[in-house]
Amino acid sequence: MDASIFANLGLGLQTAASAVNLAYCLFGVVMGTAIGVLPGLGPVATIAMLLPVTFGLPPVSALIMLAGIFYGAQYGGSTTAILINLPGESSSVVTALDGHEMAKQGRAGKALATAALASFFAGTVTTVLIALFSPPLAEIALKFGPAEYFSLMVLGLVASVVLAHGSLLHAIGMIVFGLLLGIVGTDVNANVARYTFGVPELLDGINFVVVAMGVFGLGEIISNLEKEGERSLLVKKVTGLMLARDELKAIAAPALRGTALGSILGILPGGGAMLSSFAAYALEKKVSRNAKNFGKGAIEGVAAPEAANNAGAQSSFIPMLTLGIPSNPVMALMIGAMIMQGIQPGPSVMTEQPALFWGLVASMWIGNLMLVVLNLPLIGLWVRMVSVPYHFLFPAIMVFCAIGVFSLANTTFDIYFMAVFGLAGYLFRKLECEPAPMLLGFILGPMMEEFLRRTLLLSKGNPLVLVSRPISATMLAIAALAMLTVLLPALRKKREEVFVEDD
């Protein structure tokens, strides 16, 4: 087993270290950071915006670049959080607590270096974890029938709302709404056009990039404009990047704990970066000897959540690559990108396209290395980008969204649709309906219908097969249990506590 892992990683390195793929990885990481660093732009919007760029590439290069964009954007978000206390995405909210405090004390360089080192450490560990755990998981998944897949998707969707914050009822509603949106288009089995209103552009369904850019791009812009306030960039020039030896010692244990927590939570469907960083910060606050300084610029308070969010972000690739199940909107976008490249996500990717799978895994480590090597010297550039005022920024974002959406199918129809989804996204935010579960439902909708169809066809219409097959029954039981625990008052309080850490 061990030997084959080295052989696999060797193959991966070979693929990822080819000059072309290295270049795309670098391009992805740099673009991801550059856009992620811009205030108010999270990884989802960044990936959605840059997705059209990858369409012309071969699948391996496209996925490597997208992965690079992802952790680049993640890292960029932390930079923004530290420098101007304006986290671009929810997972760096906790980084801002102590990171920004450090910046106020003139230790911005140290905070950024801590974030970079902790992320790199977590990235290295998680790459190994992915290599270790993916093959056995995929092996199990290969035995899955349609019933198991259907239940797995139910579990994934349920978990994604249980672990998200906000109203459970609304989140489930958003999932169902997303599933319905995913149905729009031609039903290939019956050759019936559904919810197309006679519009020919809708026959192929709604492109998920249009939804993502509308809801996460335009919707986010409107939200940001609403609370357009003064932003103060404290740090004009970042110096003092080097960490002293005792500081390195101080961040070692938190980074390790953060990595462990992040990689476990990231594997869970619905987990990923945000939950990981919140949980890691909460844990660190409990166990750290320096706990009293948390919130006042404790370096441990930067290391732990940063390690956790990077670990969580990367280990969320595991269910995506082995099961074909997205655990968060970013993975939903990755799955969408794979489908557009003609790859059916699922356990067979590993056996049918080993170069693609292992190339992607190896590129994650390379990408993380690039982040550390590049970002610390480039910090001056990022500081300058952070300080671009938002009212100069968002029209440019809109331009790239509009042109990006147009380039999907070279039709202006998609731009109109994106505008509608932008309004919808803003509305959802106002009503505290998380748009992320909707995107998951949207991607999974057609797959779920197909698996349900096959399940019921095999069982001659008996839905009980979902609970009589052991694996499927277990997954549904876990889903039910997860729902119940959230509804129980004691645990609900706990869950709220975890998410209000930023007060």
Binding site: H170, A190, A396, M398, F406, G461
Partner: protein
């Protein structure tokens, strides 16, 4: 805000009327609007919110319903977010259900095109109803005012870009999109720096997307063709 009630009707549950459309929907314009399936439901969702916003941002919404003796009593909505989300889910669910009637449902062992959509829209209506119920029983954070002007500008600028792209061409469409959307920001001033930035961005897009990536976007559209 007071939701207008047609004599004893319960506007918060449009799905009830979806099944009894023939019975007395005719005199209730609001219900008719909801059920007109030929138009996407999206408009209704937003249209109603616009109306609610105008009535005031802090809404003390009251519903009319009849008690056992047949007298009108009003029920206080305790959570506006739950209320409007419930409405939204109900409207979408009902519309989706209504449209899916035309698709063959099939049997469980041979699912037709309408099977899954009917299932889902039923579920969405159920969730909507639960949310409405909860809005009457559990207090929630009030709904703060909507930034309709900003949302409208962003929406309009995007739509204008789509409309102008092939007619007026990329250069003009971009100028409209950039300067139009920028006006949504309170900090935007039409000064030389802004115009210079806009020109730079337009030039960048023309060079990269049209010359470089050769996307089929005309620099000057059909309006300029003689």
């Amino acid at each position: 805000m007071v939701v207008p009630c047609a004599s004893g009707a319960r506007p918060q549950t449009p799905h009830v009327s979806a099944t009894r459309r023939a019975a007395g929907a005719a005199h209730d314009p609001y219900r008719n609007r909801l059920l007109d399936a030929s138009v996407p439901a999206v408009h209704y969702g937003t249209a109603r919110f616009v109306a609610s916003d105008r009535a005031g941002s802090v809404i003390a919404a009251r519903l009319c319903r009849r008690n056992r003796e047949g007298e009108r009593v009003s029920v206080k909505i305790k959570s506006q977010k739950d209320f409007w989300t419930g409405c939204l889910y109900l409207v979408f669910g009902a519309a989706a259900y209504w449209i899916a009637r035309d698709y063959p449902v099939g049997t469980a062992s041979r699912m037709g095109a309408g099977y899954f959509p009917s299932l889902l829209s039923g579920l969405l209506m159920l969730i909507g109803a639960l949310s409405l119920l909860r809005s009457l029983t559990r207090r929630g954070a009030p709904l703060n005012g909507f930034a309709w002007r900003k949302a409208g500008i962003v929406f309009a600028a995007t739509v204008a870009f789509a409309f102008l792209l092939e007619r007026a061409g990329l250069l003009i469409a971009l100028a409209v999109l950039i300067l139009g959307s920028a006006s949504a920001s309170a900090k935007f001033r039409l000064e030389w720096r802004a115009i210079l930035a806009a020109i730079g961005l337009i030039a960048f897009c023309a060079l990269v997307f049209v010359k470089g990536l050769s996307l089929p976007m005309p620099l000057f559209g059909s309006w300029f063709e003689s």
